[in-house]
Amino acid sequence: MIIVGDNMDIKFKIDEFEGPLDLLLHLIKESKMDIFDIQIEEITKQYLAYIESQEKLNLEIASEYLVMASELLEIKSKMLLPRNEEELEIEEEDPREQLVSRLLEYEAYKEITKTLKAKEDDRRDIYTKMPENVNDYIENRNYLESGLNIEDLTNAFLKFLQRKEAAKPLKTKVTVKEISVSSRRRDIKKILKKEKKVSFFKLFPVVTKEYIVATFLAILEMAKNNELLIKQKDTFEDIVCEVPNGK
């Protein structure tokens, strides 16, 4: 449960702080605490109250602030834990120690930015100028081997043009020859009329996928329609297609 301190004066909005460390330092200074002896319970209360007040103002609270809130609560709970005698003998680290060193270091950087700011301001009182454009003074470097002249360059360019011409793809026409089952049927019929009997394999003179499929379908269709008989004497013997009897 978070209790909002009624007496707390909210003077600063959250976006005026650079982060949770900045806010925490501000709260510590405001309540005139010794940074080396932070009253965690009090400062946690203030911190949470501040965050809540900002949420009430519908200001977005960056997740870093919430992480710090949970860290404060963790330290607070550690400090509340009763310690037995054994633990007291071992000199234990103050749960606040890490937070204190972080705050001190952050504070130091914050102080340094004031010095930097002053230096930035000072530096703005003096002016320098853009570097001169010295391109005009750079001597033309001759990268060509001696003995070369404009004609060589022209020839080289012409040769390049020729090569480019040669590299062009030749004009070709790509056509797809369509093979239909019915055309293959007609072909096979013709062959059978002439030969009466033909080896199955001889019906596939062209080995392309389309040709084989169309021919095979034609043979099956003709066999079904009784226009052709498929015979094989024995396993692995030649398959023979022939005109059925009486046709």
Partner: protein, 192 residues
């Protein structure tokens, strides 16, 4: 020698804000380090005369010609100075942290600031105040950042050693504090 002074003056004029390093002066004028230093000193002295409008400054590890501070009001009349064009508190904070810890990873900056800094770091890289400086051996080999000569110049610093001593800014506990090594506090290593 006079002749070389004139050349040095011309060189400094040509390079403008880019400035010249001592090594460059030595190389171009074909003189040794001592002579180069002496030459710069002589020219510097020349400029000290009240009748001269420029001076030599050592900014960001380079010698540069700059105007004199005491004439600033005239320049400000000439150039409309926009005071809004200064770095934000967040930018200053991030720069300070990088300058005192360089080379550092973004994670280390985040930890010290207590807020995410990736956008700010990107901005500072774009402004040329910091640059990548290889990668850390930490897990994931994160990019390391360090400040540039432009950073030094912007704050009127000659070298990185001109930064004020960090220890002067650390609040000390009343009684003798044994843990004087707060400057490099251990959580950096633990959390990075």
């Amino acid at each position: 020698m006079e002749n070389k002074i004139a050349v040095l003056e011309g060189l400094l004029f040509v390079v403008g804000e880019d400035g010249l390093s001592l090594e460059q002066i030595m190389g171009i004028l074909e003189i040794n380090e001592e002579e180069a230093k002496e030459l710069v000193k002589l020219l510097k002295k020349n400029y000290e005369d009240d009748s001269r409008g420029i001076r030599i400054d050592f900014l960001g590890n380079r010698f540069k010609l700059t105007t004199k501070k005491e004439h600033k009001e005239y320049y400000q009349k000439l150039l409309e100075r926009s005071d809004s064009n200064v770095l934000s508190q967040a930018a200053l904070e991030t720069l300070a942290i990088i300058a005192y810890n360089e080379p550092v990873t973004r994670m280390q900056v985040d930890t010290l600031r207590g807020v995410a800094s990736s956008q700010m770091i990107r901005k500072l890289v774009a402004k040329g105040f910091i640059k990548e400086a290889g990668r850390s051996d930490l897990l994931g080999r994160p990019i390391l950042y360090e400040t540039t000569n432009d950073f030094l110049d912007y704050f009127g610093l000659s070298t990185i050693d001109d930064l004020p001593d960090m220890r002067d800014f650390l609040e000390k506990e009343e009684e003798e504090n044994e843990d004087t090594d707060l400057y490099r506090s251990k959580y950096i290593e633990e959390e990075a």
